[in-house]
């Protein structure tokens, strides 16, 4: 019998691949385990072995073609008798599930006017994405019952796709109302107070849930020696203050990050799943997480790459003040391409930040602390007291790999460790 060989499920959420090479041709004999094709998926290139022994009848794909899981790639004559040839009605019956007994009428033309159905049945049809006017009614005088709708949905999978049913609200993605187990009555164990969960707290919860559930995060840690930078910062702090700015480590970090991002375009990006594309952003608007009394807000410094340290210092101070006064405009909170969150100001050390969806990465900084460090001077190691700051980068592992994170952090570190390097890299 002729067996079809379909692109198998390659796992890890891979649904399609590109044919790199075809190793066999029609008429050729193949053995089970022999490599038929090479396919590249977005994870890796894989060689696909034949599951049968026999003669290749037809090769349905050619190199360069994109194929989906389940698509027939090759047909092979195995020489076995086909199940159809065998007098085994049980096996044949397995192939096609029995048709539902009722309704037997095939779905026909849509009816006109309101379809007789109860409100609950109408709601069910909406939930299942079923066009009620196409459902044959089995009830009295053509009444469409809930069973009719379910049977119809089961027979026409496309009609019943939940995506079609959901008709997502056109407004910005509605919060998913997650079904979780009901909470116990905590007051059974002691006094409790209930306070409203609203505004910023709720918005933060929603954003973090979205990011954490959608984005596979990987976080890398790097220690940065900021002894020289801190000396440099202290030296120039005064003049910047006179201009109305505040020269903090964050200012340097912003500038350095924007500079490094230019060499790592995939970090300054977003994944557009719907379009199947990666959006590389050719602008560098960096958000800075600000912890206010009301909660976390992330104002955005625009065009960090085009601004001087002084300009950034002045702008950032203004943004932070407005954040605390809750006077940021919506525009000032939008359009970020990358985010910096500095836990150091609060005395925090290392942590694993959650990406500001739909960005691709977030950089976290901890408090710079004096540490004993082994440094090499003239090839001779010695112990020194250095000011060191942890920097963590969480990346979207769909878009980026650990190597990208390490590369970014290394370049970022080099810049902050050597203020001259940072200044030289500025345009």
């Amino acid at each position: 019998m002729i067996r079809e060989f379909k692109l198998p499920d390659l796992g890890e959420g891979v649904h399609e691949g590109e044919i790199l090479s075809v190793r066999i041709a029609a008429g050729q004999a193949v053995r089970e385990g022999e490599i038929l094709l090479e396919v590249e998926t977005d994870k890796a290139a894989v060689e696909i072995p034949s599951p049968f022994t026999g003669t290749v009848i037809e090769v349905r794909v050619r190199p360069g073609q994109t194929v989906h899981v389940g698509e027939v790639l090759v047909t092979v004559e195995t020489g076995e008798a086909s199940p159809e040839d065998k007098p085994a009605p049980a096996a044949a019956a397995e192939k096609s599930p029995p048709e539902p007994a009722a309704p037997s009428a095939p779905p026909g033309e849509p009816r006109r006017g309101p379809v007789p159905a109860s409100p609950a049945t109408r709601r069910l049809a909406r939930e299942l994405g079923v066009d009620l006017s196409r459902v044959p009614g089995s009830g009295p005088a053509g009444l469409v019952t809930a069973e009719d709708v379910r049977a119809f949905a089961a027979r026409i999978p496309s009609a019943a796709s939940p995506a079609a049913a959901a008709q997502p609200s056109a407004a910005p993605a509605s919060p998913a109302v997650e079904e979780a187990d009901a909470l116990p009555d905590f007051s059974r164990w002691g006094p409790v107070e209930r306070i409203p969960f609203r505004s910023l707290r709720r918005a933060t919860a929603r954003r973090m849930t979205l990011s954490w559930s959608r984005i596979p995060h990987v976080t890398s840690l790097e220690m940065i020696d900021v002894t020289r930078l801190e000396a440099f910062r202290k030296k120039h702090k005064g003049p910047v203050e006179a201009l109305g700015g505040r020269l903090t480590l964050t200012v340097f970090a912003l500038k350095a990050a924007a500079t490094v991002l230019k060499g790592h375009p995939r970090i300054n990006a977003s994944l557009d799943e719907a379009a199947g594309e990666i959006v590389l952003k050719k602008h560098y608007h960096l958000g800075v997480a600000v912890n206010t009394e009301e909660g976390l807000v992330v104002p955005v410094v625009r065009h960090v790459d085009d601004k001087s340290l002084k300009e950034i210092a002045v702008e950032l101070k203004g943004l932070i003040e407005r954040a605390h006064a809750r006077k940021l405009t919506r525009e000032e909170l939008q359009g970020g391409t990358f985010t910096l969150t500095n836990a150091g100001a609060l005395g925090g050390w290392s942590f694993t930040p959650i990406i500001h969806y739909p960005q691709a990465a977030i950089l976290g900084l901890g408090e710079a602390r004096l540490e004993p460090v082994v440094i090499s001077e003239g090839g001779r190691p010695r112990l020194a007291a250095r000011l060191r700051m942890p920097a963590v980068l969480s990346i979207d592992h769909r878009l980026l790999d650990g190597a990208d994170a390490v590369g970014f952090l290394r370049a970022f570190r080099r810049m902050l460790e050597d203020p001259d390097e940072l200044l030289l890299s500025l345009v």
Partner: protein, 478 residues
């Protein structure tokens, strides 16, 4: 922080605390959304609670008592003449409202719905400015407009608080029982309030531009009410317009122009009840993408979405039947749609009730609508004089009618005129919404003796004879 500088964010902003607004707010809160409800009044309830359904029904119940007491005289019980105490009536009305308002406020609080008193005006499709409120600005992810409607004032007429020319609001304030009252408009508001004042002792004159009361309601359903009003009102003028309406020191002077020429007459007060228009002005809608039709109603789809994706609208502000329960149902649809549920407003039987005595109620398709739309229907009528219960109540003028799809016997509409129509209509709503057949309604048991039997018998008539009435149409083959 300075007063008036405060701004807030909310997930769902509902503007308007009437039945549409609070239903939307409560449903949204029940679905786990964070909700803020803004209304010009300190507590939810809207026109319905403070100046509409609730106060009018409070008075109508008492009016019915007065009329029943008078009718009892002919049935063996004689009461003395009623003494109407306007202050007592106002106090009772206030108590009723207070009880409901307290209940709604508690329900809002327990759902964590934030109530803000103030007037909201859109400044963009993502935020509103609040006037006369402690918070200056509210940013929202989703908004539901439920601002309702206002009584229409004819050109040159102004409704002043305490004025002699009143809207329904003024009439429900019940400043006094005027010696004479001119009711302009023969719709349900004019008839209900006209009946209240007539029962309380006013000489009521009705003026209507159309040829009969309750234009738009099937004529046979309006007829028993018309007969009743003929005995209750001093005069009814149809095809008549009010060409002049002037408030004077002690009266209102009205010049009426109709088939029988022009009449000039003075009344103690006048009630203008010629309809309502949507309260969608001054909302700053021009700052958003929300679209309105030429009459000011906000355009929405079946999921109550306006042309602006983040903003939905419900209730009187979107038109259709301007009824509280329609607004509530739409409010719930809006909330569910915001929560991402596949909700849709797809009611097939929006019931309407006129609380006069006799009451008039209908749902689903009406006979006149079927005629207008060219839909073939079969209509069965069961007059209440064949109902034992109606006769015991002295309510034998009533009528129950069914609108049925001829081929299938499917019930498309139900209409009732008579006492307790408000309760009877529910069976019709259930029948239409469930796709029930006349056979279903005829087969189920209706308790005897009740007025609900008239519904079963109207259904039996579809097949020829009812137990208590021989039909005129031959039985179709079954």
């Amino acid at each position: 922080m300075v007063m008036g500088e405060l701004s807030q964010e909310t997930e769902v902003l509902v503007i308007g605390g009437g039945p549409g607004g609070y239903a939307a707010a409560f449903r949204a809160a029940d679905l786990g959304l964070e909700v803020t409800l803004v209304d010009t009044a300190p507590r939810p309830g809207g026109v319905c609670l403070y100046r509409g359904c609730i106060p009018s029904k409070t008075f109508l119940h008492l009016a019915e008592l007065v009329l029943d007491a008078a009718a009892a005289a002919g049935r063996g019980i004689r009461f003395g003449a009623p003494r109407i105490d306007p202050e007592g009536l106002r106090r009772w009305k206030a108590q009723v409202i207070e009880k409901m308002a307290e209940g709604l406020t508690a329900l809002a609080r327990r759902r964590n719905v934030q109530l803000i008193q103030g007037r909201a005006e859109f400044e963009s499709s993502a935020s509103v400015l609040l006037h006369d409120a402690e918070i200056r600005r509210l940013r929202f992810r989703h908004a539901v407009i439920a601002t309702g409607s206002r009584p229409i004032a004819p050109p040159g007429v102004e409704f002043r608080p305490g004025g002699r020319i009143m809207s329904s609001t003024g009439a429900l304030a019940l400043a006094d029982i005027p010696e004479s009252l001119l009711v302009i408009g023969g719709g349900y508001v004019g008839l209900e309030l006209g009946m209240v004042y007539a029962a309380f002792g006013s000489r009521v004159t009705l003026v209507e531009r159309q040829e009969r009361i309750l234009a738009g309601v099937d004529g046979d359903l309006a007829r028993p009410l018309f007969e009743r009003l003929r005995g209750l009102f001093a005069a009814m003028h149809f095809r008549t317009r009010v060409v002049e309406l002037v408030e004077e020191e002690e009266s209102v002077r009205a010049r009426l122009s109709g088939e029988s020429g022009e009449i000039e007459e003075r009344f103690s007060r006048a009630l203008v009840a010629v309809g309502r228009r949507p309260a969608t002005e001054g909302l700053g809608l021009e700052k958003t993408g929300v679209e309105r039709d030429e009459r000011g109603f906000i355009r929405v789809d079946a999921r109550m979405a306006t042309a602006e994706p983040r903003i939905r609208a419900v209730g009187d502000a979107v038109g259709g039947l301007m009824l509280a329960h329609k607004a509530s149902a739409e409010g719930k649809v809006a909330a569910e749609a915001i929560a991402g549920k596949p909700a849709q407003f797809d009611a097939r039987a929006v019931p309407a009730v006129v609380y006069t005595d006799p009451q008039v109620a209908w749902c689903g398709l009406t006979e006149e609508e079927a005629r207008r739309l060219g839909i073939e229907v079969q209509v069965t009528r069961f007059p209440w004089r064949f109902s034992g219960r109606a006769v015991t109540l002295g309510a034998s003028e009533g009528l129950t009618k069914l609108i049925v799809e001829p081929g299938t016997g499917r019930i498309l509409g139900l209409g009732v005129c008579g006492r307790h129509a408000e309760g009877l209509i529910a069976e019709g709503v259930l029948a239409v919404e469930m796709g029930a057949l006349a056979e279903d309604l005829a087969a189920i048991l209706h308790p005897h003796p009740t007025l609900s039997e008239t519904e079963g018998e109207a259904a039996e008539l579809f097949f020829g004879n009812a137990v208590h009435l021989l039909g005129k149409t031959p039985s179709p083959a079954r």
